[in-house]
Symmetry: C2
Subunit: 321 residues, 2 copies
C-alpha cells in the first residue's frame, strides 16, 4: 500500500498528515505558518516537520501533496497570496524538492482543488469521471473534474465558480466585482442574507435580531433555523436557491455526474440540500432535469485538507507513474 504526505498551508497553521492509499490518516501534526515572510526558511521548517513525522510513523512515503492559497499547479508556485506572509511568486515545489530529492511526486494546488481530488480518491466521487465540488466557507471555492482529471485551464487557475455572476450589480465581492456567487452562498453570504431579510420583514421577533452584523455567524443562523426561526429558515431556502442557480450554470458548462458540496454550511444537511434539490431542475435544460446528483462531501471534515493534499500526490502517481 502506497503512503503519501498531505500538507495544508493555512493563514495561521500548516497541517501535516501521513495518509494511506485507503484514506486512513496514520499520524498528523501541525506547525505555525511562518509570519516572517521568508519562504525558504519556512519550507525548511516544514520539511523538518515532515521528516520528523515520517520518522515517527516509521514508513516510506512516495509523494507529497500540498494545498495552499493562490497555488499554481502547473508551476508549483504560490503567487501573491494575500493571507500568507510570503510576497511575490514563491517556487514552492522547487524549494521543497531540494529537501526531498528522492521523492518523485511533489505537487501543489489550491485548497478547493485539493479537496476535489480528495473526494475523487477517498470520498463519494470514487470512480466518477465527471463531477464538480463546491467548497463553502469564508468564500466559495470549486474544483471541476472532466474525464477523470481536474481542470486547471490554461494557467492553472481554473475552477473559480465562486466568482460566477449570480446577480449583476449585486453584493460587493472581495474580488472587486459585485454580484458573485461567493457573496451569497459563503458563510458570510448567509449572514448578509439574514440581514437583508430582517430589514425586509422588519423582523424584531427573530432569534437573530439581537445580534450585530459582526456578532452574527452561520452557526447562529443554523441554531435559529432548527429552533424554527422564520428568518433563519428563509436564509437556508434562499441560500439553497442561490446555489441551485449557480450549480445549474456549472452543469450547463460541463455536465457532471454529480455535484458535491463541502464545508461548514453543508453540516446543516437537509436545511440546505432540500432547497437546492427542489430548485435545481427549475434552472436546467430539459435534457438535464432530474439527472444530476447533489451530494454532501464524504470527506471527514477534520482531516479533509490533509486528505485532499495527500490525494493530489496519489493522483500524480497514477497520472505520471
Amino acid at each position: 500500500m502506497k503512503i503519501t504526505v498531505g500538507v495544508d498551508i493555512g493563514g495561521t497553521n500548516t497541517a501535516i498528515g501521513i495518509v494511506k492509499e485507503n484514506g486512513e490518516v496514520i499520524i498528523k501534526n501541525s506547525i505555525t505558518t511562518a509570519t516572517h515572510g521568508n519562504a525558504e526558511k519556512f519550507i525548511k521548517e516544514l520539511s523538518d516537520a515532515i521528516k520528523a513525522l515520517i520518522a515517527k510513523a516509521n514508513v516510506t512515503i512516495t509523494g507529497i501533496g500540498v494545498g495552499a492559497p493562490n497555488a499554481n499547479y502547473y508551476k508549483g508556485t504560490i503567487e501573491q497570496a494575500a493571507n500568507l506572509s510570503f510576497k511575490g511568486i514563491i517556487p514552492f515545489v522547487d524549494i521543497l524538492k531540494t529537501h526531498f530529492p528522492d521523492i518523485k511526486h511533489i505537487a501543489l494546488t489550491n485548497d478547493a482543488n485539493a479537496a476535489t481530488i480528495g473526494e475523487m480518491i477517498y470520498g463519494g466521487a470514487k470512480g466518477m469521471k465527471n463531477f464538480v465540488m463546491y467548497t463553502l466557507g469564508t468564500g466559495v471555492g470549486s474544483g471541476i473534474v472532466v474525464n477523470g482529471d481536474l481542470v486547471y485551464g490554461h494557467d492553472g487557475f481554473a475552477g473559480e465558480c465562486g466568482h460566477m455572476m449570480l446577480f449583476k450589480g449585486g453584493r460587493s465581492c472581495g474580488c472587486g466585482v459585485p454580484g458573485h456567487l461567493e457573496t451569497y452562498a459563503s458563510a458570510p453570504g448567509m449572514k448578509r442574507t439574514a440581514f437583508e431579510l430582517m430589514a425586509k420583514h422588519n423582523a424584531s421577533d427573530s432569534l437573530l435580531a439581537n445580534d450585530s452584523f459582526n456578532s452574527l455567524d452561520s452557526k447562529k443562523i443554523y441554531n435559529a433555523a432548527i429552533s424554527g426561526d422564520k428568518i433563519a429558515l428563509e436564509v437556508f431556502e434562499l441560500t439553497g436557491d442561490y446555489l441551485a442557480q449557480a450549480i445549474a450554470d456549472t452543469i450547463h458548462h460541463v455536465r457532471p455526474e454529480a455535484v458535491f458540496l463541502f464545508g461548514g454550511p453543508t453540516a446543516a444537511g437537509n436545511l440546505i440540500f432540500n432547497p437546492i434539490k427542489e430548485k435545481l431542475d427549475t434552472y436546467l435544460l430539459p435534457v438535464f432535469k432530474g439527472k444530476i446528483k447533489v451530494l454532501q462531501s464524504e470527506l471527514d471534515m477534520g482531516n479533509a485538507a490533509i486528505l485532499g493534499a495527500s490525494a493530489l500526490a496519489f493522483k500524480e502517481m497514477v497520472s505520471q507513474p
Copy 2:
C-alpha cells in the same frame, strides 16, 4: 494526406463535403433532409450520396464526421430532435456503419461541438489545449475544450453555455427557463434588445422604428448601426456586455486561453467585439484580467458546418488511431 467526409444535418438540407487534412474542401453537395420520418431510409439516401461524392472525387476516405441537432457523441445517437422528422432515439452511427463497414472512424456530435473541433483542427485554435467557442445564431451554442479534448460531460450533452443564467427571471427562453444567455445574445435576442430599447427611449426616429417584431432581424440592426442609428449601436453595446458577462462565467469555470465567437452576429466585427473586450475585465477576477483573448472564428462560414463535422472525424483518428 488524410481525407474525411463531413456531413451537416440541418432541418431542411443535409450538406456533405470531402475535406483534406489541411481544411481544403475538395468537393461538396447537399441532399434534402428527409421529412418522411424513416431514419433507416434517410441514412441509406445519405450513404448513397456520400458514396457518389467519393466516387466523383476519386479519393480514399478514412473517416466520416456528422454534425446534427440533439446528437449524443458517446452513443452515436440523435435523440428527440425537435427539428428533424425522426422521432425517439436514432442509433445514427450504428446504422451509418452498416453502409461503410470499412471505415473505422465514424462519429457524430452536435453542430456547436463540431464547429469547435473545426476551429481546433483547421482554424484559429490550432495548437490550443484550452479554449471555448460560442456559436451565435438562432440560438447560442458552445463547445468547451479542456486539455485538448472536447468536454462531453457525463452523458455527451455538456457545453450548453447558451443556457447559463444571465438575468434571473429575465426573458422567456425556448427551453422553458427564463433569463438564459441565448435570449439576449442570439440573433433573435438582439432583436428583442432593439425592441426593449425602442420602448425605453420612445425611439420613433430610429431606423428600426418602422419594422414590425416579425420583420426586424439582426442584419437590419447591423445596417442601421453602420448608418449611425443610436438604438442599433446600443443593441451592439448591450449584446457585447451580455456576452462579456457570460464569457467571464465560462472563464471562471475553465480558464481558456481564448474564447472564439462564431456565427452571423460576429460578422459585425468591432461593433460586437469592442464592447465585449471593453467589458470583459470588469467581470473577471484580477488573476484573469487582460489575459484571455476573445477572437473571431477563422472558419470559413460557408463551409464551417462541413469543416466542423470532418474535423470530428480527424480528431477521432488522432485520439483513437
